[in-house]
């Protein structure tokens, strides 16, 4: 009888290195308040955002992804040719096909790495970390490049009061490889498709093709419903990620949630029951909501501000359009 050989891998994986890229321009609340009949004070009070960072018109989402990836590869001390898997999480790559990941892999010199995009919106980075962890531990992949990259500013309506004013551009990349010790906890993830309309593209491409009066699509959200879902329904997911990693909230050094809204972050901290000793990532104040890029960007900010160091234990949770969510505990590189 013919018997197949299957791959086997190391017991553990880890984040080897992190790289980031931010948009070139700081955009203040005053610059965007006019078209939404708002003010700096209103935006700060509702969102905690003081300014957001957006990219130049000519900068593409792949440009941002490439910058972040090159920094991660350099810090990992590996050659791009050692990367055998590239996962790009983005909702702002302006092609239905081909995906952006093969293009990114080629630019980096990582071809013929397996390369694909995932569409899990603001949960995409944590979804991709979960995939990469499984791929490394199964022996399927040696080094996985995970990138969350977004050019949200291509998909905004300056007159939209629901989400556009929150959004910024950037990318975060990590290399996932084998580890001698446990460094990525189980990913707790899921979806609630019944809430698919809560954060959405205004019109589908086929609707736009058939109705010339429809504008180029942008993003919109039902802000109050999203606030309620994220603030109150996801705490059990975060707590389960801690528990499945064999830890308690007191073991967590840093909480790095998707940077959607400061009010959501504050409420999540309360609902999860994190002790005061936990450092809370609040990069949204200066970066805005960068979707799949927000968790790695917020992580970089914590390093830069001296709030975390290599070896610290971080709880990260992504959540967004789908609805989708994912959380895991990781050891920071």
């Amino acid at each position: 009888m013919t018997q197949l050989t299957t791959s086997t891998g190391p017991a553990f994986s880890r984040i080897v290195a992190l790289g980031t890229a931010r948009g070139e321009n700081v955009v203040s609340n005053d610059e965007i308040a006019g078209p939404i009949d708002s003010s700096d004070e209103w935006i700060r009070q509702r969102t905690g955002i003081v300014s957001r960072v957006r990219a130049n018109p000519e900068t593409t989402v792949i440009d941002l992804a490439e910058r972040a990836s090159r920094e991660a590869i350099e810090r990992a001390g590996i050659d791009a040719s050692e990367i055998d898997t590239v996962i790009l999480s983005t909702i702002t790559y302006p092609h239905i096909t081909p995906g952006g990941a093969p293009v990114l892999a080629d630019r980096l010199g990582a071809s013929p790495a397996a390369a694909w995009d995932i569409s899990a919106a603001c949960a995409g980075y944590c979804y991709a970390i979960g995939q990469a962890d499984a791929l490394v531990r199964s022996g399927q992949s040696k080094y996985v490049l995970v990138v969350g990259a977004e050019k949200m500013s291509d998909w905004i309506d300056p007159t939209d009061r629901s989400i556009s004013f929150l959004l910024g551009d950037g990318a975060g990349a990590v290399i996932i490889g084998a580890s001698q010790t446990p460094a990525i906890g189980p990913t707790i993830w899921g979806s609630e498709g019944s809430g698919a309309e809560l954060i959405r593209q205004t019109s589908s491409w086929t609707e736009i093709r058939e109705d010339e009066s429809l504008a180029f699509p942008t993003l919109v959200q039902e802000g109050q419903s999203v606030f309620k879902w994220a603030s109150f329904k996801l705490a059990p997911v975060a707590r389960e990620a801690i528990e499945k990693a064999g830890l308690t909230p007191a073991d967590i050094d840093a909480f790095i949630p998707h940077q959607a809204n400061m009010r959501i972050i504050d409420q999540m901290v309360r609902q999860i029951g994190l002790p005061d000793s936990v450092v809370i990532a609040r990069d949204i104040a200066d970066s805005g909501n960068t979707s799949a890029a927000s968790i790695p960007l917020a992580t970089e900010r914590l390093y830069r501000d001296g709030q975390v160091k290599a070896g610290d234990v971080a709880l990260q949770i992504g959540f967004g359009a789908g609805l989708v969510y994912a959380a895991q505990v990781v050891v920071l590189p």
């Binding site: 509702r46 039902e222 109050q224 419903s225 309620k228 603030s231 409420q267």
Partner: protein
């Protein structure tokens, strides 16, 4: 179990006080959440969620906009 109007008002007053820092005594039936108590849309969702937990009821998101005054909320919850 069903709650009386007095019980719901007292519970709501506690929740509003906790969320906003207002004195619970200011939470009266005729007060508007927005105009009198200066509660914004996100704080309102927090209050509604905490009220759902406290009174074991479900208040659909689309109904929240109809809860203009404290009395509207008390009436809504007692009739569920």
């Amino acid at each position: 179990m069903a709650y009386t109007e007095t019980e719901v008002l007292a519970g709501l007053a506690d929740i509003v006080a906790e969320e906003t820092g207002l004195d619970a005594a200011e939470v009266q039936l005729e007060k508007s959440f927005t105009d009198d108590l200066d509660i914004d849309s996100l704080s309102m969702m927090t209050i509604v969620t905490l009220a759902e937990e406290r009174f074991d009821v479900r208040i659909p998101d689309e109904d929240v906009k109809n809860l203009v005054t404290v009395g509207d909320a008390v009436s809504y919850i007692t009739k569920l």
